[in-house]
Amino acid sequence: EDKVVQSPLSLVVHEGDTVTLNCSYEVTNFRSLLWYKQEKKAPTFLFMLTSSGIEKKSGRLSSILDKKELFSILNITATQTGDSAIYLCAVEVNNDMRFGAGTRLTVKP
């Protein structure tokens, strides 16, 4: 059975902190791993990772994939209150996606 596990499930930090969110997976026929940010509405796409060891970066957010150890991390540096959201990890398998439970990040001023 395909599994995607995110940790921690919930995290509270203060503005300026750096956070690392984890996503591990066990799936057959891995195609890619994606990170989404979900505030009050639709999840919005952050990164798609297909190759090991290549960091993807967008502003204060970065992510990397390890296909040997079957995990990915999402880093957020110098966090801001606007980073408060649920962060979803998804793994593309054949024709569909397998999602983790999400990490709820709360950034306090």
Partner: protein
Amino acid sequence: DVKVTQSSRYLVKRTGEKVFLECVQDMDHENMFWYRQDPGLGLRLIYFSYDVKMKEKGDIPEGYSVSREKKERFSLILESASTNQTSMYLCASIGGLGQPQHFGDGTRLSIL
């Protein structure tokens, strides 16, 4: 920019009612998906469709059916709503393999 539109943001129905959730995308995507999202469980796939009139069961299809009569529209049907179907329902579409899904804003459905 891809737009995925779900017909209702909030919906309240009664046990036993037949409920229709509508989703429309404007980018001619072939693949469309229905998920439900519950705290601690993440997004779970109910059904997906890879073409008009085609459908495949996801992980939790029981109590649901779907309809895809036109490429842009994918409907989720709760045949006889029950309280355990109270949830956030998200529709998504994708242009092809190797592309990210585009999500609608979600429908928060309460069954009383």
